[in-house]
């Protein structure tokens, strides 16, 4: 079993390699590359425990690498609760872990986890008297607190700008970029907010192929960027996070940038905010070293980081086979590809790794990081296989990002195949006439379908703006 290391990326990788710098991690100097996500640098340098969980002090590490989960929070340059996966490396930055006594790597309070079986029901604990309750509350707060207050002077308020725009697009992934392109083609001006510094979403991750014409997703993304470059109709703002939508006569969208806050009044809103990475649930699936497949894609394809070996991959899609093949080609040790399907999608790549059909992961174990993975024919059946595992890539349906639509009062429903999702018709219309949605925030789909949904929602929106009923019945 080995900890993180760097491997060579594909020659056409669109992310440039930053210069070699040093960062300070709890008094130690660690090597890193300027501009890469801090979490990737820490994993590459062999850091495994990023923090401790709130109640049972279980080890925590990043699993989504998308800025959504709480696994990668650290104190960076005196600021607590910084998402290290969303923070670019700068030379000399000072990084510390927040929770755990005496340290995050070895936390004595983990004993709570060992002793508590399947959980502690805290509802009636320490409630015998008000005094006991107050004492216990103080103790528990200290035990589970979210780090220390920031060092130094508080940050001054960010300037607020109020804008008026006809069309706001949220999310610059496949659906959002394609929608922006369609709006541009139809002569409709739009403003696109993308949370990451580089737009692309799934097109950027590197593992999805945009299908059909044999064109890779990086090439497809470059083409979309070329088509949009210099467009007078598109105001593309990367590094901008939309945090709220307020419905009303005119929608108000609140977007936050590093140095300013935008309150935007919009006539129409197109939500293409994607989804959140998930992993399959089983005993120990929260251990560090268990990664969602797109998180692993980003580490490997974009940043050339392998967080641990041997790698076990669990899932059914052909893309996982492609990933396994690429790992072997890069010299990474792959222990197995475990597929729940009884008939796997494609034959294994020249026997470079065992392909195990008809099995699901049921238990992960290890002290501070995953070390072993047990598999079984079904979650309820006894395990009949065991792998040494330094990193688990877990494919599971991502959960649509339905929240902004919910803010705007749009109808949301539940689908076991993905989770809560924005309800739309064929033209991307939601139950709020001013709000359209496309792509993975409306449910599970392929990359090709997301591109098409983006185009259709933009078409529907353009029609609704030109004064028609907006419906083509």
């Amino acid at each position: 079993m080995s900890t993180g290391r760097r491997v060579t990326r594909k020659p056409d990788c669109p992310v440039e390699t930053g210069s070699q710098v040093a960062i300070e991690f709890e008094g130690r100097q660690l090597p890193a590359r300027a501009g890469e996500p801090l979490a990737a640098a820490l994993l590459a340098a062999g850091v495994q425990v990023f923090g401790r969980s709130l109640k049972y002090h279980r080890p925590r590490g990043p699993y989504c690498l998308q800025g959504h989960c709480s696994g990668c929070l650290m104190r960076v340059d005196g600021i607590p609760n910084v998402r290290t996966c969303q923070t670019a490396v700068r030379a000399g930055m000072v990084v510390e872990r927040q929770r755990g006594w005496p340290s995050a790597s070895f936390d004595a309070f983990r004993a709570l986890d060992w002793l508590s079986g399947q959980g502690i029901d805290h509802h009636s604990m320490f409630t015998s008297s008000a005094a006991t309750n107050r004492l216990a509350a103080r103790f528990v707060r200290r035990l589970s607190g979210f780090g220390e207050l920031p060092a130094g002077e508080p940050r001054p308020p960010a300037p607020v700008e109020r804008w008026q725009r006809q069309v706001v697009v949220v999310g610059g992934g496949a659906a959002g970029l394609q929608a922006a392109r369609e709006l541009h083609r139809r002569g409709v001006r739009s403003t696109l907010f993308e949370r990451q510094e580089v737009a692309g979403g799934r097109l950027l991750d590197g593992s999805d192929s945009a299908g059909g014409d044999g064109q890779g997703s990086w090439a497809r993304l470059a083409e979309l960027h070329r088509q949009l470059e210099g467009s007078e109709n598109l105001e593309l703002l990367p590094g901008t996070t939309v945090v709220a939508v307020y419905p009303g006569d005119r929608l108000q969208v609140v977007a936050v940038q590093e140095r300013r806050t935008l309150v935007v009044e919009a006539e129409r809103l197109l939500l293409a905010c994607g989804d959140y990475e998930q992993v399959r649930l089983f005993e120990g699936s929260d251990l560090p070293g268990v990664f969602a497949v797109r998180a692993f894609d980003r580490l490997f394809y974009l940043h050339g980081v392998i967080p641990g070996e041997p790698v076990v991959l669990c899932g059914d899609s052909p893309r996982l086979l492609r990933l396994a093949g690429d790992l072997v080609a890069a010299g990474v040790e792959v222990a197995a590809l475990v597929s729940g399907a009884t008939r796997p999608p494609l034959p294994a790549g020249e026997g470079a790794f065992p392909l195990v059909p008809g099995r699901l992961p049921v238990r992960a174990s290890g002290g501070r990081w995953i070390e072993r993975l047990e598999i079984a024919p079904a979650p309820s059946e006894p395990a009949d296989g065991l792998f040494d595992c330094g990193c688990l890539v877990s494919e599971y349906p991502p959960a649509p990002a339905y929240e902004l639509a919910h803010h705007a009062g749009c109808r949301v429903d539940f689908d076991s195949a993905c989770g809560f999702r924005v309800v739309v018709d064929d033209g991307g219309r939601t139950s709020n006439a001013a709000v359209f949605a496309a792509g993975h925030c409306t449910g599970a789909m392929s990359l090709e379908q997301a591109l098409e949904a983006g185009r259709r929602a933009a078409t529907g929106m353009a029609e609704s703006l030109s004064g028609g009923s907006g419906r083509e019945d």
Partner: protein
């Protein structure tokens, strides 16, 4: 048997959900209020779908899951400094901010 952690932010286990369901918490909002599910740093981004599946299975279908928990701004944890300059009822005024 060890723990199956459904909500990583608040350490809510599958067993916690089972006990809450048995105690009568049969919709997501109620489960959330009883167990602390979805109330942590990620605000349910990593557990709401899992909890929905748990309810769908026990209640007999996706239609029975009903609504997600009430979503409120902010979608992502955001420094207070980003909002300190937005006074309530303040007239639109950007250039001199």
């Amino acid at each position: 048997m060890g723990k199956v952690i459904v909500c990583r932010c608040e350490d809510v286990t599958l067993e916690d959900l089972r006990q809450a369901f048995a105690a009568g918490h049969r919709d997501l909002e109620s489960l959330k209020r009883f167990t602390g599910l979805s109330t942590g740093f990620c605000q349910g981004k990593c557990c709401a779908a899992h909890a929905g599946r748990f309810l769908a299975e026990l209640r007999g279908g996706d239609d029975m899951v009903c609504d997600p928990t009430r979503t409120r701004p902010l979608l992502h944890p955001t420094p207070a400094a980003c909002f300190a300059a937005i006074a309530s009822g303040e007239a639109p005024d950007q250039e001199d901010a």
